[in-house]
């Protein structure tokens, strides 16, 4: 939105559609490509930061992603939106980096994430703090944010990647299975365990605050 001081009124600046910018970028207009980058960089950076738990790695993934997108512009036929296309490139790069980390760190033994406790009859032993009711409307304070960040960073990588792709980024299960090269059942199982661990961490946070 801009203000026309002479006419004393607001002017609405209609932003060009991604598809228009894309056509211009494909014709060699680098400024148009830069505008596309500006529109989608937060989403790409956010995905990589959540998956890798490192802003520095996320910045590198953003560079790799947009450079790859630029170099493959002529092949992009527009079957999906530009944002979705770039997003999937970023997801692939982030997953590749995670795989590389695993190979480089062979001694890593994934710890079982936090999960609820039951007695021998299968009854829940935990006392659940009452925080589920109005969670959607809650404003997060820094301490809770920190507790969630810590719990997310502590998840085994194969759980975190599925949780990020599904619960934070909203990708369909089938696509996550393809991206992570695993079965649908494994994706669901990992997601469930990641949610249990994160729920447990939030619950512990509230319980400690109340005590």
């Amino acid at each position: 939105m801009q203000f026309d001081s002479q006419a004393g009124r607001l002017l609405t600046v209609v932003a060009e559609d991604d598809s228009v910018l894309l056509v211009r970028a494909q014709a060699g207009d680098t400024l148009a490509f830069e505008q596309l980058v500006e529109r989608h960089r937060d989403q790409v950076f956010g995905l990589a930061a959540r998956m890798l738990g490192s802003p520095d790695d996320a910045a590198e993934i953003a560079q790799e992603t947009f450079l790859a997108a630029y170099r493959h512009l002529p092949e992009f036929r527009g079957d999906s939106a530009f944002g979705s296309w770039v997003y999937r490139i970023a997801a692939n790069y982030a997953l590749m980096r995670l795989r590389h980390r695993k190979v480089a760190n062979e001694v890593e033994t994934p710890t079982d994430p936090d999960s609820p406790q039951f007695n021998e009859r299968g009854s829940l032993l935990d006392n659940i703090a009452d925080w589920g009711r109005d969670a959607e409307g809650q404003t997060l304070d820094a301490e809770l944010r920190g507790a969630i960040e810590q719990a997310s960073a502590g998840l085994p990588e194969e759980y975190r990647e599925v949780f990020v792709l599904r619960d934070l980024e909203g990708l369909p299960y089938e696509e996550i299975a393809t991206l992570t090269n695993t079965s649908l059942a494994a994706v669901k199982s990992r997601l469930h365990r990641a949610r249990l661990a994160l729920r447990q961490a939030i619950d512990r946070f509230y319980a400690e605050r109340e005590s």
């Binding site: 680098t30 490509f33 830069e34 980058v37 500006e38 960089r41 937060d42 950076f45 956010g46 930061a49 959540r50 802003p55 996320a58 910045a59 953003a62 560079q63 947009f66 450079l67 630029y70 170099r71 609820p116 039951f118 009859r121 299968g122 009854s123 829940l124 935990d126 006392n127 659940i128 703090a129 009452d130 925080w131 589920g132 009711r133 969670a135 959607e136 809650q138 997060l140 809770l144 944010r145 969630i148 960040e149 997310s152 949780f163 619960d167 934070l168 669901k188 997601l191 469930h192 949610r195 249990l196 994160l198 729920r199 939030i202 619950d203």
Partner: protein
């Protein structure tokens, strides 16, 4: 026969996704109606992704955005020369 808490919690992902067969869903809901800890567990399980989305939201810092722009301009220039 009623489910145990553990059996119910194992089914929560499919329950929340609406993918449980009708009979299993009904048994789980009977349990939830009678077991307050599980009912509370379900509410907090459902609330978890939303809270995490808020907590883990990330915006590219200005300094990183600038570096990205500089990097891409340089690479695009190199590509055009090649």
């Amino acid at each position: 026969m009623s489910n145990t808490c553990k059996e119910c919690i194992d089914l929560l992902l499919d329950y929340v996704d609406g993918e449980l067969p009708v009979e299993m869903r009904a048994r789980l809901e009977v349990h939830m109606g009678e077991c307050e800890p599980c009912d509370q567990f379900l509410k907090t399980y459902k609330a978890t992704p939303g809270l995490c989305r808020k907590a883990l939201a990330a915006k590219m810092p200005e300094s990183v955005a600038k570096k990205l722009g500089d990097f891409l301009r340089l690479e695009m220039k190199k590509d055009r020369k090649a």
